[in-house]
């Protein structure tokens, strides 16, 4: 510790009133140890100031951005397709921080996302699937019922009939100009006379 104590630090920080400052400076002129310590303090202070000047900081960069957190959360829920490069503002200077890089594109369709800020892909997929199941089910039911109806409707419940040969024979004869009598086929008593041909 130097002879001047706290007053040396106050001198470096330029916090002494003028009378005190003269007295300290007079002491420094005669005390080499205190002079060396004052130089050291000044160097350290200058170095600290230089460190402080490098980042043009406003304090906000110290925390992760909301977008970054959102993306972290969504990574656990569902795979998010890679952001198209067009949405990342290609004209942005490289030195700019990544803050709100894809924000405008993500909020372009806010209605697709649920209000609880959960990722929308899963809910939309579920709705789509449900609709697809409905359509497939309805189609299956329709085709099944149609096929069953077609199969069941195949055979008519028609009565069994025996042709009225005797009547048909007479009616045939009427249109051909022959005597409208029954065919011997249907009339055993009216036996046909079978004779060898010429």
């Amino acid at each position: 510790m130097s002879c001047l104590g706290e007053r040396l630090t106050a001198l470096i920080d330029d916090e002494l009133d003028p009378a005190e400052r003269d007295r300290v400076l007079a002491h420094l002129a005669g005390c080499a140890a205190c002079r060396a310590e004052a130089d050291e303090l000044r160097r350290v202070k200058g170095r600290l100031r230089g460190l402080n000047a490098v980042p043009a900081s406003d304090g906000a960069d110290d925390l992760p951005s909301g977008d970054f957190l959102n993306r972290l959360r969504s990574m656990g829920a569902a795979p998010v397709p890679p952001e198209p490069p067009a949405t990342t503002q290609p004209m942005r200077p490289a030195s700019r921080p990544l803050r709100s890089s894809a924000r405008p594109a993500r909020t372009a369709a806010p209605s697709a996302r649920p209000r609880d800020n959960r990722p929308g892909a899963r809910a939309a997929g579920l709705t789509r699937h449900r609709r697809r199941y409905l359509v497939v089910g309805a189609a299956t039911l329709f085709i099944g019922l149609g096929t069953a109806s077609y199969v069941v409707g195949g055979r008519q419940h028609a009565p069994a009939v025996t042709p009225a040969f005797d009547r048909f024979a007479v009616e045939h004869a009427l249109t051909t100009g022959d005597a409208p009598v029954t065919d011997p086929l249907t009339d055993p008593a009216n036996q046909i006379k079978t004779a060898p041909g010429p």
Partner: protein
């Protein structure tokens, strides 16, 4: 390069004109070749001979006669003959009596058919055959004009003897391609004296000279029910058959077709539909002819009761079963798609079979079948049913 767009366009246009011209030429050629083959044949037919056949229909209504008629069909070297006594009174009709005592009646209104020639069948005859006049001949002791119908190859298909004095057809025979007779019919004896009036009393319940040309009743008491369909082997005297056929006009036929009834216009062997009637039992009677041979197809709704067809020959072709039997006439019975077809003809058995096999498969229209099935399913699922 092939050329500018305008030349390509020209070329395309020219090609189109060429194609259109070619098509028109082809159509004209096809029309010229196939147009109406009957027209050329009609031109070769002897108008006088055709006139004789036409006047025979008129004579059958006009000329009084009594005599014996026969119908003989030939199968190989054997023949089957049916004989009846026929008495015609102009203005009334023809009464037939078979040897067994069964009687038939053909009113004058449809007597034109009795010559086997109506305007329609005569048209078919001249379309499919060449009709020529031959030298007069003598038959039953009377002079007769002879008319022949010839096939395209010149062979004789039919021969007709028409009474020179009255114009009545006395004898008719159909001949197959090998020169053998197939069907022969006509009079074995005839007298042109007026028959005794006692046998010609008008039938009760029938209008004389009615424009309805179908009703033909046998000597049955009025109001007698038609015999049951199972009467194939029924009582010998089947005179209790009451027949009433109602002609079906083109509109009625179209209606039947729309309701799914199979009514083909053509059948194998140039057979063309020339007449359709609804017969008493509910069957539709379709008459086909090529001008000479006649084929009747009776179509009934239902399934075939094969129990009544014992003794019939069974033939299966292309998945269709046809029951055949030859008697005086040739019969073929088939069933398909809820219809039973009975084919009867005087032509050879092969014709009957060919027609039976060719009858259309007429499955129900898709929506009809679907609707019927849906109704059945609904009634099966109905808990209150």
């Amino acid at each position: 390069m092939t050329g500018t767009p305008s030349t390509a366009c020209h070329r395309r246009g020219r090609r189109r004109i060429l194609i259109a011209g070619g098509l028109a030429g082809a159509v004209a050629l096809a029309w010229g070749l196939s147009g109406d083959p009957g027209a050329a044949r009609r031109a070769r037919s002897d108008p006088g001979a055709v006139g004789l056949l036409r006047s025979a229909a008129d004579a059958a209504r006009r000329v009084p006669y009594q005599g014996r008629r026969f119908l003989t069909t030939w199968k190989g070297g054997r023949s089957a003959t049916s004989r009846v006594t026929a008495v015609h009174t102009p203005g009334d009709g023809v009464r037939y009596t078979s040897a067994a005592g069964s009687e038939g009646y053909l009113p004058d209104a449809s007597a034109g058919d009795a010559t086997a020639f109506t305007k329609r069948t005569l048209d078919l005859l001249t379309r499919n055959y060449t009709v020529v006049r031959k030298r007069d001949a003598s038959i039953l002791g009377r002079r007769a004009c002879v008319v022949e119908a010839r096939r395209q190859d010149g062979t004789i298909a039919g021969r007709f003897w028409l009474d020179a004095e009255t114009g009545l057809m006395l004898h008719r025979e159909l001949i197959d391609a090998t020169g053998h007779p197939v069907v022969t019919s006509g009079f074995t004896e005839i007298s042109f004296t007026l028959p005794a009036q006692g046998g010609a009393a008008p039938r009760p319940g029938r209008t004389r000279g009615s424009s309805v040309d179908a009703p033909a009743v046998t000597e049955a008491p009025a109001g007698t029910e038609p015999e049951s369909p199972t009467s194939a082997n029924a009582a010998p005297n089947s005179s209790a058959t009451s027949i009433l056929e109602v002609p079906l006009d083109a509109r009625a036929l179209d209606g039947l077709k729309r309701r799914g009834w199979p009514v083909p216009d053509r059948m194998p062997g140039h057979l063309t539909l020339y007449d359709a009637r609804r017969e008493a039992g509910g069957a539709v009677h379709l008459s086909y002819s090529d001008g000479l041979a006649s084929v009747s197809v009776f179509v009934q709704r239902g399934t075939l009761d094969t129990g009544a067809l014992t003794g019939w020959k069974k033939a299966v072709r292309h998945g269709r079963t046809v029951f055949c039997r030859e008697s005086l006439r040739r019969w073929a019975v088939a069933a398909a798609d809820g219809y039973v077809y009975t084919v009867v003809t005087d032509a050879p058995q092969s014709t009957a079979e060919a027609v039976a096999f060719e009858l259309p498969r007429h499955p129900d229209p898709f929506w009809t079948r679907l609707a019927r099935g849906a109704r059945r399913l609904a009634s099966a699922a109905d808990p209150f049913n």
